[in-house]
Amino acid sequence: MHDLIALTPLGARDPRRDHHLGHSLIEVTDVALASVAARLGREADAAALVATVTGAEAPAPARATASAFWMGPDQWMVEAPFATHEDLARQITAQANGAASVTEQTDAWCRFDLKGDRLADIFERLCNADLRRFTGGKAVRTAIEHLGCFLICRSPTHVSVIGPRSSAGSLHHALLTAMKSAL
């Protein structure tokens, strides 16, 4: 096993945690990501592959399951615990037998989880997603302060924001500012 020490997207050893008026903003770093894109004509097989590795049907457009969300036509992002799936892309490729193009995405992104009762009040200051209408399992990609981000609504009181890793600092600043402004 290698001895290199990982940094979080915000550039520290440990994930950042912020709390404000009963709401939390937590940097999440223990999830591995891999994109699974269907090969031409193998769309059904690719969906089946996602189902196999996630144990749930491949999510429909703008939807998410416990461990996958829809990225684009015939393309999904699979989530798995980093500790056991650091090499997630390779693991999925091994099961793909040519049905999908799998690409490692773990460190392409940073992820911040917001929890609390008034998430809609916060997000209406950030992006055009109609959070008041979101129930669990909704996944949209949109812009937050000029950054393209995925919004994964795990439940009405728990939303993951997955944004470009290199801009983790700017994204975190925007989220925290909105929390303090809206609450």
Binding site: M1, H2, D3, L4, I5, A6, L7, T8, P9, G11, T29, S35, A37, A38, R39, L40, G41, Q75, D87, R90, S101, T103, E104, Q105, T106, D107, A108, W109, E124, R125, C127, N128, A129, D130, R132, R133, E145, H146, L147, P164, R165, S166, S167, A168, G169, S170, L171, H173, A174, T177, A178, K180, S181
Partner: protein, 983 residues
């Protein structure tokens, strides 16, 4: 100062007194006051000066259409010019100053303009200030600029913050008067998602300014009760202090919520205002109507205002501009004002009605006639009436309410170029033409002026919308309300007045309109532009109609024949700050940081913006006093031993699929089909127009898997382009794309000792020998005992070089490890400057060379464009103009006198030829000092450059005063044979 003009009653909270200052005078008002109502209560009528003639002015209105009473609000960095006193909510400690006057409001030196007004008629400046020619800019214009303008900015950074937000609803209702409230109630109870927005801080609209009752309660009580009911509905969002400023495409509305303008300063962390983007399925405009004035001689003195405003000040704010008032009207509404004021104990000296046969009141005198003049320098003292029955009469009064009828407030209906249409019955324009998507209009905004009509039309419109959206709607039981018919005889201006103001802020008189017609500026747009009618901060809400009517009269046409009134966004002027939101200062755009950023900061690196990226530019060391010292060291040490540079910012695109190679064959002008697995190739991408778009490498990790790199600047556009080619041009190619730019931390390890250094971190089972891993090899490896990594043997510096990539989270650890392991080689970290120097020494093209106008031919890569296949851009690259015999070619330059620079941006001239554009031979794109060669070098484009090696040409930069000889040389200054990178 006492509130000598404060009346009984009203909706102000007398239990809360606020002190405020206007032009240094301290006064008191109450919660619920506006600055204007508080000033009037304190006996102040004079609140501003007009734009051109600096005429003394007081409020004309009691709302956001105010042209006259505009002031500088607040002090210091929060100073806010041109703020309407009529909407500025009073708060304790408010400070305001009058503007556009010197030295004082009462005595304004520039009021001399008023006496010279006959020289300043409409358009006068187009006819003069031309002699002598030079004087316009030296004398006249500076003079005019100083005199012009209204309020002033503080010139300090705005200390407040602004938010932007996004709201979604089924129905947006603009205006919370009777129509809006009835509509909100109907739609809200039908279960629609409703947003009710009103610019006022108290909802109810005219209901708060009137005395009549709704059912068995006062109008304002019904409004308050209804608002309370609406607030209790979870599906209704009630938004006071919110101005809907514009109607945009597809049901998107812009609105500004003034969160903190009624406070001394915003709460910590909270915004001053919020720009809401409202996405709605339908919208209902219930913005009411605006009363319009009548133009007559000296109709602009402080104390002369719209009758409805006079009434509103008395009823809502318990204030009056004077204890003795008169009314001038052409419709019944003026009489309502008289009655209300009389009831409040204000002496009504007379009601002058232009119409015959008006009922005589027992409370005050009613005259038929016209006002032909007024008196009072800083405030009205007397009016002169020309009686219909003959003769004139002078009437003492301190205020005059003018009622010329009402204009439906159609502004928002015009925002998508909808043109209002004339309705004779009310002598006004009502919404017409193409309304914005999904917009309905109800109440007074639609020309239905009675309260009853407002309530019912609002409720009916909402019910219809609810039904359209599939909700069952029941009409709420609405209270009984007045239903007086409109009685109006159009009367726009008193004829043969010398100076009757039409646009009060811009000082446009009825005579100016006549002059415009006389000079053939007849079209409404010409009229507005020539006279500036309606161009003031009120967008002509109170003036456009009269201007139009007067023009129609002169031209002998009907009003609709002459034109219509149009309005543009925003509905009222909107702070720049709120339109920008949080995107200012360092937050203007997001920052992108490289994986080694933290480490680089520790090294004291100097950073530079590259797009949104922050990259280390160089790494100063103790004792180094200039950037050149640091950069030279980084370059020399890299070429001597080994250097490391973070190149993560280069775009990386994962290209997979059985057609991946065929796809790249389309994308790149050179061939990729035959590239072996485990090898990398340089690729040049053309735009379809044959111009070089980007360059980079493609590494074949497997038969069906490539990793393509792009330049930092073009990462996004190249990905977009590749998706276009994939989805739109070759949809049946089996190829999948995804960006992996940020997934991998990538470092260039360059220099003679690069291999030795890497061997210390790469796991032993991987052979890095020149045979095992030759130039342009690539592969997936592990390092440091098992961390997956990618290794590419590519070189930008021209040295033996590798690029090694690891998952981004380990980038920091890797560079620390490489620097530690490299100590025995005196490894250096190098930044973008050294990177640039080394690539110029090697003659590699980069952003400065790929400037969007250069071809493969210019770059000396003409032969790379394969004729054997159909790749993007190949065909159009064959056009004659892109293949001239004397084409620009990329070559190198070195100074004849080695002490000279070879600055980029300089132009090349043939020795002995004239120095001008006609003889331009080319230009220098990139330049640097080469520590290896000991002098400055450069690369650039020179006509037929490849055939002119050895020629001495003249390099000129008149802009920077540079003019020296340079020698044309090969762009490959260092190791032209490329032995080092193959070592």
């Amino acid at each position: 100062m006492t509130q000598k003009n404060r009346l009984q009653g009203g909706l102000i909270d007398r239990s809360r007194s606020y002190t405020f200052r206007f032009d240094g005078k301290t006064m008191t008002g109450h919660a619920g006051d506006t600055l204007a109502s508080a000033l009037l209560a304190n006996g102040v009528r004079l609140m501003g000066r007009s734009f051109k003639y600096h005429r003394p002015r007081g409020p004309l209105t009691a709302g956001s259409e105010e042209p006259n009473a505009i002031v500088e609000l607040r002090e210091g960095a929060r100073q806010e010019p041109n703020t309407r006193a009529t909407t500025a909510e009073l708060f304790d400690g408010l400070v305001a100053r009058s503007q556009n006057r010197w030295p004082s409001l009462a005595f304004d030196a520039l009021s001399v303009n008023d006496r010279l007004s006959s020289f300043f008629a409409a358009g006068f400046y187009y006819k003069t200030f031309m002699w002598p020619a030079a004087f316009w800019e030296k004398l006249y214009e500076p003079m005019i600029r100083r005199a012009a303008g209204l309020g002033s900015l503080s010139l300090q950074d705005d200390p407040d913050s602004y938010d932007k937000g996004f709201l979604h609803c089924d129905l947006l209702i603009t205006g919370a008067g009777p129509a809006g409230l009835a509509a909100a109630l109907t739609a809200g109870e039908a279960g629609l998602r409703v947003i009710l927005a009103d610019e006022d801080y108290v909802m109810g609209g005219r209901l708060n300014a009137e005395t009549f009752s709704l059912g068995d309660m006062a109008g304002h009580d019904w409004a308050a009760q209804t608002v309370a009911r609406l607030r209790s509905l979870p599906n209704v969002r009630v938004m006071p202090r919110t101005t809907v400023l514009g109607a945009f495409d597809h049901g998107i509305y812009g609105a500004v919520e003034r969160v903190a303008d009624h406070l001394a300063v915003p709460e910590a962390g909270k915004p001053r205002q919020i720009l809401w983007r409202i996405y709605t399925k339908r919208s209902l405009l219930t913005a009411g109507a605006l009363e319009r004035p009548i133009a007559f001689e000296n109709n602009d003195r402080p104390g002369i205002m719209l009758a409805s405003a006079l009434r509103a000040y008395a009823n809502r704010w318990a204030a009056t501009p004077a204890q003795r008032v008169a009314i001038f009207t052409n419709n019944d509404d003026g009489h309502r004002t008289a009655a209300d004021l009389h009831a409040k104990g204000v002496k009504v000296a007379a009601v002058i009605d232009t119409r015959p046969g008006q009922p005589v009141s027992t409370d005050y005198e009613v005259l038929q006639g016209e006002i032909i003049d007024t008196a009072g320098r800083l405030g009205l003292t007397r009016i002169t009436v020309r009686l219909a029955k003959g003769g004139t009469r002078e009437i003492e009064c301190g205020a005059l309410g003018v009622s010329g009828g009402w204009n439906p407030n159609v502004s928002l209906t015009c925002h998508q170029r909808g043109r209002p249409v004339w309705e004779e019955g009310i002598a006004a324009f009502v919404p017409g033409g193409t309304l914005p998507d999904g917009m309905t209009v109800a109440g007074a905004a639609q020309g239905l002026f009675s309260t009853h009509a407002a309530l019912t039309s609002g409720a009916e419109a909402a019910a219809q919308i609810a039904t359209d959206l599939g909700h069952a709607a029941t009409k709420p039981d609405l209270p009984q309300a007045e239903d007086a018919p409109v009685q109006i005889t159009p009367f726009w201006h008193v004829t043969d007045a010398k100076r009757a103001w039409v646009d009060q802020q811009n000082d446009v008189t009825a005579k100016d309109v006549k002059l415009a017609h006389q000079e053939n500026f007849v079209s409404v747009e010409h009229l507005k532009r020539y006279t500036t009618l309606g161009m003031a901060t009120d967008q002509g809400k109170t003036s456009n109609m009269a201007g139009l009517a007067i023009m129609a009269e002169i031209a002998g046409k009907t009003i609709p024949e002459v034109g219509t009134t149009m309005f543009r966004p925003p509905y009222t002027p909107t702070a720049m700050g709120v339109l920008a939101g949080r995107s200012r200062g360092t937050d203007f755009r997001p920052v992108r940081k490289t994986p080694s950023h933290t480490w680089a900061e520790e090294q004291g690196a100097v950073f530079v913006e590259v797009g949104n990226w922050l990259r280390a530019q160089w790494f100063p060391r103790k004792g180094e006093t200039t950037w050149r010292e640091s950069v030279d060291r980084e370059v020399l040490q890299t070429r001597k031993s080994v250097g490391i540079c973070d190149v993560t910012t280069l775009g990386k695109i994962d290209v997979q699929g059985t057609d991946a190679a065929a796809f790249l064959n389309r994308i790149y002008c050179n061939g990729f089909a035959k590239l072996a697995v485990g090898r990398t190739r340089y690729g040049l991408m053309l735009r379809e127009d044959g111009i070089a778009m980007d360059d980079g490498t493609a590494a074949r990790l497997a038969e069906d898997h490539f990793v393509v790199t792009t330049t930092t600047a073009n990462a996004v556009s190249v990905y977009r382009h590749m998706e276009f080619v994939r989805q739109c041009l070759f949809p049946d190619m089996d190829v999948q794309l995804i960006s992996t730019t940020e997934a991998w931390a990538q470092f260039s390890v360059a220099g003679p000792n690069a291999r030795k250094l890497l061997q210390k971190v790469v796991d032993p089972e991987f052979d890095l020998s020149n045979e095992g891993f030759p130039f342009m090899a690539c592969g997936e490896i592990t390092i440091c005992g098992g961390l997956r990594a990618r290794l590419f043997r590519i070189s930008f510096s021209g040295e033996l070089a590798y690029e090694i990539a690891v998952p981004t989270r380990y980038g920091d650890a890797l560079i620390r490890r490489l620097m530690r392991e490299g100590q025995e080689f005196d490894v250096v970290a190098y930044g973008t400057e050294a990177l640039g120097v080394m690539r110029i020494e090697k003659g590699h093209a980069a952003g400065n060379e790929l400037n969007g106008t250069t071809t493969a031919l210019n770059l000396g890569m003409g032969r790379m464009v394969s004729q054997a296949k159909d790749s993007i851009g190949a065909v159009l690259s064959r056009r004659e103009g892109l293949n001239e015999p004397v084409a620009l070619k990329l070559v190198g330059f070195k100074p004849v006198d080695p002490t000279h620079k070879v600055p980029a941006g300089s132009h090349l001239m043939t020795k002995g030829a004239p120095v001008d554009a006609a003889h331009d031979q080319g230009y220098v794109t990139s330049a640097c000092y080469s520590p290896n060669l000991g002098h400055h070098i450069a690369i650039g484009y020179l006509k037929s450059g490849d055939q002119r090696l050895g020629e001495i040409v003249r390099l000129v930069s008149p802009l920077t005063g540079f003019d020296h000889d340079v020698e044309v040389v090969s762009a490959h200054f260092v190791d032209p044979e490329g032995e080092r990178l193959r070592a």
